[in-house]
Subunit: 119 residues, 2 copies
DNA sequence: TCTACGTTTCAACGATAGTTGATATGTAGG
DNA sequence: CCTACATATCAACTATCGTTGAAACGTAGA
């Protein structure tokens, strides 16, 4: 991930409605949520939400697929990973103790119990 | 970290000059960099940089200390950790495989070789 | 094909953020 | 005390972002 992409991603997350959308989709899991459900969840008008979803999609943070009349959005976990990696890259220049908490914080996630940790 | 703080942090990072400042400080390590050095590094006028540094500081992403005539800024690694944790929290609702790459990406950092990983 | 539903696009307005220049603070040395 | 240096503050301007309402698109069922 280059700076331009990271910039777009952070700018996208730095907005109340968009951050809530991403959080909702991250917790929702890979099944995702329909645009209409998201509109109710974050309490935003449909047309306005559509604008934000487009921005999040362009930033590589979410993906979409059509299912009948609905459009289902899901978190782009790979994009989120890249963003985290971009932010913390080269944080260990001779002082691993300063960034270890970041690793520990994320490792505290239940993911560590998954069998695909190193996949 | 609550939503309001995360929002401020992401909005702070969603700006070219501020993102470069944070990246410069993250790679610089706990010793930090003087405001003047940062101004040259990111190629921003001093008064303008001061505005951005204030915003980053208010967002909990950097800290500052005075050393003689200079003010030294450093990355707030704890704040960065909290931010990462906020973004990925509850990402594993029954599907640990989707967020495992995020953990792996951060774990790829040399931090994993540090002796304070679980501290 | 017609209607209903879900979603997206567009133009326009109001609010907010970033830059600039001038000025103020605070610190060290002569 | 006075000057030089480093950084911070303030007001004003411009550009960009987010919201709103109206309208269009695409899909499914009658």
């Amino acid at each position: 991930m280059d700076e331009r992409q990271a910039l777009a991603a952070f700018a996208a997350l730095g907005q109340e409605h968009r951050l809530r959308v991403v959080r909702a989709l991250v917790t929702a899991g890979p099944n995702g949520l329909a645009a209409g459900v998201l509109a109710e969840t974050v309490n935003v008008a449909g047309n306005n939400l559509s604008f934000h979803l487009k921005e999040l999609s362009h930033a590589g943070l979410i993906t979409s697929r059509r299912e009948g009349k609905s459009v289902i959005y899901s978190a782009a976990y790979a994009g989120l990973s890249d963003l985290v990696q971009f932010l913390m890259r080269d944080c260990c220049q001779g002082h691993p103790e300063v960034c270890a908490p970041a690793v520990a914080a994320l490792a505290a996630c239940d993911c560590t119990t998954g069998d695909t940790l190193h996949a």
